[in-house]
């Protein structure tokens, strides 16, 4: 399977995603330049973390207009898997691939930490290798990670099982203390209407090695592999 990793000029987690796919998952990966119009035949598109165009305006606001995003949107519309991580989640929201928006963290500071997230739905393209209710250890590193949406949208997301991950404590309890950025309902990751676009603030590609603290992110990549390959 081929993973296409979009490199915006300010992407800085493209390299980590590339290595997670090639070294840990053992699959093929290519970098896709933001000025291009070609996904190079990628089966899965990753929008990696970083600061796409500096993000001085509003996170992801400029990236949605970059040339490659037309192809990414078409890929998503055709049912192709898209994984937006951190800045990639922000861009996916700006591009209308996912509902809601990501605002400045409620405490106004950048937060870099390993956090716990609970798997809310294990029957998705991205989470079928996890158990529902399982608690994962995964790093976050962002200044704008507070997920917001109207109550209607939030209710719908929850009702349709589209909230995939929530911030929780080590025992899986959803609490204010476990929420690193003030996200509504502790939401850490959601999927789009058709289940083929996942946006999440935590970095699964940084949780692919016990040496670095956690390998809980590996099964997310394996989940995609098992569904798409099958």
């Amino acid at each position: 399977m081929k993973f296409g990793i979009v490199t915006f000029p300010g992407s800085n987690c493209d390299y980590d995603a590339y290595h997670a796919v090639t070294e840990i998952l053992g699959e093929e990966a290519v970098y896709i330049w933001h000025k291009d119009h070609d996904l190079q035949g990628s089966d899965v598109v990753i929008l990696p973390g970083g600061f796409s165009y500096g993000d001085y305006l509003r996170v992801g606001a400029i990236a949605r207009f970059s040339p490659i995003m037309q192809e990414v949107a078409a890929h998503a519309k055709a049912g192709g898997p898209v994984l937006g991580i951190c800045n990639g989640f922000q861009i996916a929201c700006e591009a209308g691939l996912l509902p809601g928006a990501l605002l400045r963290n409620s405490h106004l500071q950048f937060v870099s930490a390993e956090v716990s997230i609970r798997v809310e739905n294990s029957d998705t393209l991205f989470t079928n290798r996890y158990e529902r209710g399982e608690v994962l250890r995964i790093p976050v590193a962002h200044g704008d990670g507070r997920f917001v949406a109207t109550n209607d949208v939030l209710d719908r997301l929850e009702g349709e099982g589209r909230v995939v991950f929530k911030y929780a404590d080590a025992n899986g309890n959803i609490s204010v203390d476990a929420n690193p950025n003030g996200s509504e309902r502790n939401i850490a990751g959601i999927i789009g209407e058709n289940g083929n676009v996942l946006g999440m603030m935590p970095h699964p590609e940084r949780a692919c090695s016990d040496l670095l603290g956690s390998s809980d992110g590996v099964r997310l990549l394996e989940s995609i592999l098992s569904r798409v390959a099958a």
Binding site: S11, Y15, A20, P139, S209, L211
Partner: protein, 768 residues
Amino acid sequence: MSEVTPRAGDPTITPALVAEHGLTKGEYERLVAMLGRTPTFTELGVVSALWSEHCSYKHSRPVLKTLPTTAPYVLQGPGENAGVISIGDGLAVAFKIESHNHPSAVEPYQGAATGVGGILRDVFTMGARPIAMLNSLRFGSLEDSRVRYLFSGVVKGIGDYGNCVGIPTVAGEIVFDPAYENNPLVNAMCVGLMHEEDLIRAKAEGVGNPIMAVGARTGRDGIHGASFASEDLSEASDAKRPRIQVGDPFTEKLLLEASLELIKSGHIVAIQDMGAAGLTSSSAEMAERGDVGVTIDATKVPTRESGMTPYEILLSESQERMLVVAKKGHEENVRAILTKWDLTAAVIGEVIAEPVYRVTEGSKVVAEFPGSRLVTECPSYSPEARESAAIIALRNTDPAAVVPRPEEKDHAWTLEKLLASPTIASKAWAYRQYDSTVRTNTVIGPGGDAAVLRVRGTNKAIAVKTDCNGRYVYLEPRVGGRIAVAEAARNVACTGARPMAITNCLNFGNPTKPEVFYQFKEAVAGMGEACRALGTPVTGGNVSLYNESPSGAVFPTPVIGMVGLIDDISHVTPATFQNDGDAVLLLGEMAGELGGSEYLSTIHGKAVGAPPRCDPVREKALIDALLEAIASGVVSSAHDCSDGGLAVALAECCIANPDGESGAEIDLSAYSGVADRAILFGETQARVVVSSASPQRVVAIAAAAGVPCAEIGRVRQNSDSLTISLPTGSLRASLGTMRRAYHTSIPSIMSRTVEHATFDELSPVAAH
């Protein structure tokens, strides 16, 4: 030589103008003699920057020459943008530390951010990809609201810049002491990884080769930043806010990628950051290193605003710019790479055979200096050095005579106070704002003894740390200099790494004061002694003088940035207790030295006594024994014993990791010759707290190396406290109390208001 006449519209050279440019009468005469005529305004500007302390090291060079700089694995020593050492497998590590103290004192956010940007460029211009950032910060007391403003601004500046570029900030140190009240220290270090064959130097070569300005455009910001950094801070400093540069990390990220691509491409022969003194110093230094002449046309430099004079263009410190010497005929290839990254590249000059440094405005010559004399003939001073009688008196004060406070009857009270003191307490409030895991190499991040980064494609890792205890250096500079190096080495060794080499950032006061120059000379001598004994040469660094405010000079603070190598990644060792029932051992001796301790400072508000002795040879023996024990697989954890002494080190082993607390039962009653408080809080050097399931093996290894070693207790994971038996008393501190003190101290202080105050609003602060 061309004829150089004053440029229309430029001010006339007067003694007042010369003084305004920071040149002494003697220095001005030297300039006139070199030129054989009166300098132009542009020339005066160029010289004021290049001969500033910041660029010229005119007071420090002769002393710095005494430091050891060689080892078989040193590929590049001092004198380049960064030092480089080989780590085997064809790989090399480039690293350097630099200060941004003065800008940060006036504008903390931009000051710190551009400090990070500058040091990043120093490393990637060597051809290395930055893999880690560190910092070393000093502030006044956090009780002061302006200090809280400075601290939060500096931390945010460091975080925002490094996070955006995508380089993890993995380690550092933060110290709070009234000695740094109006003059914070902000030192940033960058570590990069490269293939040895990609090493490139900033040396202009090849007559006819074009000189190109690449990256961001040149604006009017930061003009005279280097001179500003070379004078004492004062009430007038706030007015010099325009001398501070403004950073753009997004452009830096583009420049980083473009520069590494340029270096790989083979289209260029040299590249250098336009840092302090901007285009002036980068071009003059590249010419001097290559022993060639250069000519630069100021009108060809891409500018951000119209109407900039040659003077402004030469002295601008606009950020995110590079000077490149391209291969003749390859200009378009260079431009193509920059264009890919949406950056500009313009030919602005040429390498010439004629031994001159020439700047033109179109066809008119506005500045011209003979050969490289501009750099080589810069003044050099060896000022008088004399120790301050007041400091001698402080050192001779017997710490044992300091009467304990009544509360100290309960040693747990004292321990709690120390754990809550901002210098010792957890710095998570700061480092949670730094992305420490991007690039997925961080094996041990902030909060450990040193950070550890894996080296992809090998079984190796590198360990990095910054260290210095300025109070020790203040009380006895030579000993303090030794300790700075030794502690950095010990920290790196605690993670399992062999200390390899250092970079240093020497933060001192005004060198023309004999007391300050004494500190400088002695501290560097002490560093040199430790570097020689530990086999860790100096590969470069930075000197920051004039760290003085109206309240006096800062503590002399020679910050050491240490790089260590771990040959087998399975040897990486954590700092905190790991397993129930492990024996706790103290490697090193029990001398009970309280002089210069954090205990005296925090509990009694005193900086007195002789700092702990430091014998670099014993430090080396300790490190060798520790590394042998770690390599034998018998060490569960290792933690350096430093600020706050053994009691604080043990407490940190128990509670520093919030996800894995342990209790411990310790017995120090055998040390009957030493007072209880000195056992607990004395800061004797060359000591490490180790936990092990095979204590006999550790004892045997230490004995063979001639290092004192004693089993002093057990890790008790089911216990909710740390207990210590002492010759006359005991200490019992609950994990909950220690946790609260250590982890909530800084967040709770920082939740108070932070207000922006300027120097004018400050009340006079008594000299320390």
